[in-house]
């Protein structure tokens, strides 16, 4: 079960995930995010994983996919509040080479100039 919450601050889409991100729930995250990106004027994404209790490699795939979309439009993706087990998956797949990691949501938003 995954809950996806969207909030927008200027050109930054803040996505807060709660629950479990696997192959089953990845589809929902992909569709909702892509719909939002098509409808609204958004350049960057902040992904808050504070309440994400489980993630597997399907999560890596869907996050990488959204990263590619914002990057195509010259935007950035910043990830914040990541737990130790999920951080290990990010490290294993080299995601931190392309995504910026911040400790807190406020730091991530500040990095993108919308705090």
């Amino acid at each position: 079960m995954l809950t996806v919450n969207f909030a927008q601050k200027q050109d930054v889409l803040l996505i807060r995930l709660k629950g479990e991100l696997d192959h089953h729930s990845a589809k929902q995250l992909r569709e909702k995010t892509d719909h939002y990106l098509q409808e609204k004027d958004v350049k960057h994404i902040v992904l808050n994983l504070e309440e994400l209790t489980f993630m597997d490699s399907s999560g890596i795939g869907v996050i990488l996919g959204r990263y590619k979309e914002v990057q195509r439009a010259g935007g950035e993706m910043v990830v914040c509040s990541i737990s130790t087990p999920i951080k290990r998956l990010f490290e294993m797949s080299g995601l931190f080479k392309i995504l910026r990691l911040e400790h807190r949501e406020s730091d991530a938003l500040r990095q993108l100039g919308v705090a």
């Binding site: 696997d22 192959h23 795939g61 294993m92």
Partner: protein, 146 residues
Amino acid sequence: MTNEMKLEFSAVSENEAFARVSVGAFVAQMDPTMDELTEIKTVVSEAVTNAIIHGYEENPNGKITILAKLEEESIELTIVDTGRGIEDIEQAKEPLFTTKPELERSGMGFTIMENFMDEVEITSKVGAGTTVYLKKRLATKKSICY
């Protein structure tokens, strides 16, 4: 003492959470650390997802079997599907390799299994299915010496 259990379920994505939570509950009696439990749940999720997406190509009529065996110091998991099989296992194990990039598959499944478990053995036959055997020794048990 050896304790075993067997699960069989339909190859539908709703069962990914069911499979990892069930195995996690069975393994809990070994008193693993939180990290060990998360690692076990993650590899179950990886193997079951592979069976659903690649083994059965999301055909819900497919069946997945999980055998879990608890030994004194270790946990053994065998995840079996009778789907289409893997043509080249070595290639499938390469980090970031996937046959389904259009589905945004990361190609990290086997890499994660190898990182989180002590032993990973994949046997597969094209047209007959795939069996993934995983073994993990628990750190808390390893430290006990007689």
